[in-house]
């Protein structure tokens, strides 16, 4: 069984996403809504991370043997200005997409294993991940015209 590998992936992805929400929120503190919603969503990711902790005992440690790519590629420090905000939110958006699809994969395995505990965690966490993505999309749609067309 290879589920351990995916448990490792989602564990790491949620950890990275939580950290990125925190860093980007704090880095854009002059946008108070971004700061406060990012903090809330970072806390959500930390809860997701925590809720996964019983399952390595059940299915193995599952440390991913592949290097982390997305976070290190996307995220190299907070940017500034309207365009910088847009780019940072876009990085977060891609990271939520990775979490979302990884939850989907883990959820498929949970169903095949009839593991209702794991399935409940996947269902509840993935629903929150989906809202995280929707918030990022909402905020980016709001910011894009001003940042790309009006600001110099």
């Amino acid at each position: 069984m290879q589920l351990a590998a995916y448990l490792g992936l989602i564990h790491r992805a949620e950890g990275e996403l939580g950290q990125a929400f925190r860093e980007i929120g704090d880095g854009h503190a002059e946008e108070p809504d971004v700061l406060h919603v990012c903090r809330t969503l970072a806390a959500q990711c930390e809860v997701h991370h925590e809720r996964l902790s019983p399952f390595p005992a059940r299915y193995g440690e599952g440390a991913p043997d592949e290097p982390e790519r997305l976070h290190s590629t996307l995220f190299s420090g907070v940017r500034s200005g309207g365009l910088g905000l847009l780019r940072d939110l876009q990085d977060l958006y891609l990271m939520t997409c990775e979490c979302d699809i990884t939850w989907t994969v883990v959820g498929q395995a949970a169903q095949a294993l009839r593991d209702t505990d794991l399935l409940a965690v996947v269902t509840e966490c993935q629903a929150e991940t989906a809202v995280q993505g929707k918030w990022l999309k909402t905020r980016m749609k709001q910011a894009a015209p001003q940042a790309l067309v009006v600001a110099s």
Binding site: E30, E31, G81, V131, K134, W135, K137, K141, V150
Partner: protein, 754 residues
């Protein structure tokens, strides 16, 4: 069922004037709070000399509050602006209208050429008339095409609108003020009606101190005059409304105090709501809210066996943490109990300012006019046809830019022209040091339309002198959908003009045209604008189509919707329990209440409520800035009875000024003793952002909470450097993620004797 509220006609005339001296009584309504009391303006020798309540008016039955009785004197103040001002060499100097408006149009054209209309923002008020808002909305949306239109109403009424959209699919106050006579239980949530709407409070008091008294449940961290009348006063910690309301909903469900048939037939979302409130036992909420579980249980019992429940909500919810989420939970109480659309069963999601309702209807607050949905292409097409413009001109690609974001864009330099009408953000917005720094930016061209040289106007590049209420004609609508026509009684002073005339002049100078090359704005006066608005509102929930100036002159004070089928207006919405929640009808598909993430059309359609109301659930979260070691007190700002907004008018009415000449900080007796301060002592109130110095009043807020009235600025006081006193020096720049209403009842401060 209750009896009619008896009339009592209140009159106030200038010293030495008796009714016999009055040459004309001119029909109007009061513009100094959201109650919208009907009154007549007394005129003699071309001046306003007083007011008289109209006994037949459905809103006030002749009564007037202190602001209504005395506020009219401001019109006659000696220091009105009478000539446009233009900044030259750093100083504001008198100029002609031609010069002033020429400058505004020239700067607008240049910015549009260089950066599109996204470089222009409009920041309006809760004080203009419907005709002015609608004209501006058409100029902004169909002419210039800017998404940056909002106003001071974001600070007072945005959550009311949003909560109604989230629950019922569209804005629109369901209840009637007559529900006060019919209810058997009153539930006032964060609504100090004794200070904010005195005539509505006297209507409630006549019930509370009369026969067949309704029970009263009050949620307020202060022991207000309203709380003093309550059967249960829930003096919760600020920022914990959702925890309390979830516990009340928990009790209603746990005890079966719900109308199961109504819930099953007329609502969606019960299972999620039940699951969300399930863990919120009174014991748990009591810990979070800082009150006893017994108080919560008692309140729930009163709500649970009410037969006709009337609930009201205002700034204690709207300007607090989780504003929209909490306001929706009050709607949920009514939906669970099936108490809606019949006498005594009202919800007043109140408005703060007198004409705030009209900004929401007409779209001067950024929404699309007529409660249309910016995500519904059909709605955008309707407007494009009405205005005869390309739908692409109308900004509908994202939510309209809310007030705080407009200021942020100005701070970042991407908005280069900000036109502020009839409001005073240099005193009313949060974190004033930041607001002043934005107004003072060299790359921001600030236009201010006002009747006085306010703290904001002093920092403007162009100041346009405006006519006030009583000096122009137009309509406005109160918090129970009552439309009043307010007639011009006297001429404005000097060269002052109405905001409508100013906007029409701007549209001509900008040469705004429709797709056939005809002038975009097809009216030249207030009645023409009203007719234009009627066409825009036709078929929408706020339908004005059977109203007219002639009709309002016959009978002033008619509630929308007013159509050919209901020519006398409509007292209550949703009497058939059919709600505008279909995807075709609704004003918004809604938001996630925690983050404000937009629910997209496809997702909404998948769960089409099909005319049923939506029970919106929300988990409680803790506020971000809470009292701690360094800043141990919770701050709440708010109103005091004699004053309105930033006192531009009420400072100029001697009786009102005498009643509250200076600001103060209200603290509890226990806290005052611990700080070794007494009534009248000057103290420093300091937040992480700034400090003010004000005298102490010993009051009865919840211990650990302090209250500062927000009305006081600097125009009649020493400058901020010498004696900082505006409450908004202290407040934080943060807003509700759904309604975008700034949080004025939040943040932490410390208090120290000076």
């Amino acid at each position: 069922m209750g009896e009619q509220w008896p009339p009592r006609v209140d009159v106030s005339l200038a010293d030495g004037v008796v009714e016999h001296d009055v040459e004309r009584w001119v029909s109007s309504a009061c513009l100094l709070c959201s109650n919208g009391c009907g009154l007549d303006i007394a005129v003699a020798d071309g001046r306003i000399v007083g007011v008289r309540g109209r006994g037949e008016d459905r809103v006030n039955h002749g009564r007037l509050g202190p602001k209504g009785l005395f506020g009219w004197q401001a019109n006659n103040a000696e220091d009105r602006l009478t000539q446009p001002l233009v900044r030259r060499g750093g100083r504001l100097e008198e100029a002609s209208w031609e010069d002033a408006m020429g400058l505004v149009a020239e700067r607008s054209r240049r910015l549009i050429e260089e950066r599109t209309a996204g470089a222009i923002g409009f920041y309006t008020s809760g004080q203009l008339f419907l005709e002015e808002y609608y004209t501006l909305a058409v100029i902004g949306k169909a002419g210039l095409g800017t998404p940056h239109m909002d106003g001071n109403t974001r600070l007072c009424t945005a959550t009311a609108a949003q909560a109604l959209k989230e629950t019922f699919g569209s804005d629109g106050q369901p209840g009637s003020y007559a529900d006060v006579e019919h209810c058997d239980t009153l539930f006032l949530v964060g609504h100090n009606v004794a200070e904010t709407q005195t005539v509505l409070w006297s209507r409630m008091l006549d019930r509370l101190q009369g026969p067949d008294r309704p029970r009263l449940v009050v949620v307020d961290p202060r022991r207000t005059p309203v709380a003093a009348e309550a059967d249960v006063h829930l003096a919760i910690r600020t920022g914990t409304n959702v925890a309390l309301l979830n516990a009340l909903l928990h009790e209603l469900i746990a005890h079966g105090w719900i109308d199961r048939a109504f819930v099953d037939d007329r609502t969606v979302g019960f299972d999620e709501l039940a699951a969300t409130v399930e863990p919120w036992s009174p014991d748990r909420a009591a810990t979070v809210c800082g009150i006893t579980a017994a108080e919560i249980r008692h309140a729930a019992e009163l709500l649970g066996d009410a037969r006709r429940l009337l609930s009201t909500v205002l700034q204690g919810v709207y300007q607090s943490h989780q504003a929209t989420a909490a306001a929706c939970q009050v709607n949920n109480v009514h939906l669970l109990r099936g108490m809606l659309g019949r006498p005594g069963c009202g919800i007043y999601q109140m408005n703060g300012q007198p004409t705030a309702q009209n900004t929401r209807e007409t779209g001067a607050n950024g929404d699309l006019p007529g409660f249309r949905n910016w995500e519904n292409e059909g709605h955008v097409d309707e407007l494009a046809r009405l205005w005869n413009v390309d739908p692409m001109v109308i900004p509908h690609w994202a939510p309209p830019t809310h007030a705080m974001q407009i200021w942020r864009y100005a701070e970042q330099g991407s908005i280069g022209l900000l036109w502020i009408s009839a409001t005073n953000p240099a005193v009313s917005l949060p974190e004033l040091r930041r607001v002043r720094s934005i107004l003072d930016r060299d790359d921001l061209f600030v236009v201010v339309s006002d009747a006085w040289l306010t703290e904001t106007a002093e920092r403007a590049d162009v100041v346009l002198p405006t006519a006030l209420w009583g000096e122009k004609t137009g309509t406005f609508t109160n918090a129970d959908r009552t439309v009043h026509l307010s007639e011009r009684a006297v001429d404005p002073p000097g060269a002052a003009r109405s905001d409508l005339e100013i906007f029409l002049d701007y549209a001509r100078r900008m040469d705004l045209r429709d797709r056939d090359g005809s002038p975009l704005i097809r009216w030249e006066d207030a009645e023409g604008a009203f007719e234009g608005w009627k066409a825009c509102s036709r078929g929408r929930p706020c339908d004005y189509s059977a109203l007219s100036y002639a009709r309002l002159r016959e009978h002033n004070g008619i509630q929308w919707p007013c159509t050919e089928q209901s020519p006398d207006g409509t007292e209550r919405l949703y009497v058939d329990h059919v709600f505008p929640t279909t995807p075709e009808a609704c004003e918004a598909f809604g938001h996630d209440l925690l983050t404000g993430a937009v629910i997209e059309e496809q997702e909404y359609r998948a769960q089409d409520p099909g005319g049923r109301a939506r029970l919106r659930a929300a988990e409680y979260t803790e506020a971000d800035e809470v009292p701690g070691e360094e800043y141990p007190f919770a701050l709440a700002t708010g109103r005091t009875l004699p004053h309105f907004h930033t006192r531009t008018k009420t400072r100029r009415a001697p009786e009102l000024q005498a009643a509250a000449p200076d600001p103060w900080v209200e603290i509890s007796a226990g806290d005052a003793a611990a700080l070794s301060v007494e009534e009248g002592d000057l103290v420093a109130v300091e937040s992480p952002r700034a400090r003010i110095e004000v005298p102490v009043r010993i009051g009865d807020p919840r211990p650990g909470t302090v209250f500062v009235p927000f009305h006081f600025g600097y125009f009649d006081a020493p400058g901020p450097e010498e004696h900082p006193r505006a409450a908004n020096e202290l407040t934080l720049t943060q807003w509700d993620p759904v309604s975008k209403q700034p949080m004025f009842k939040a943040g932490a401060v410390r208090v120290a004797a000076i």
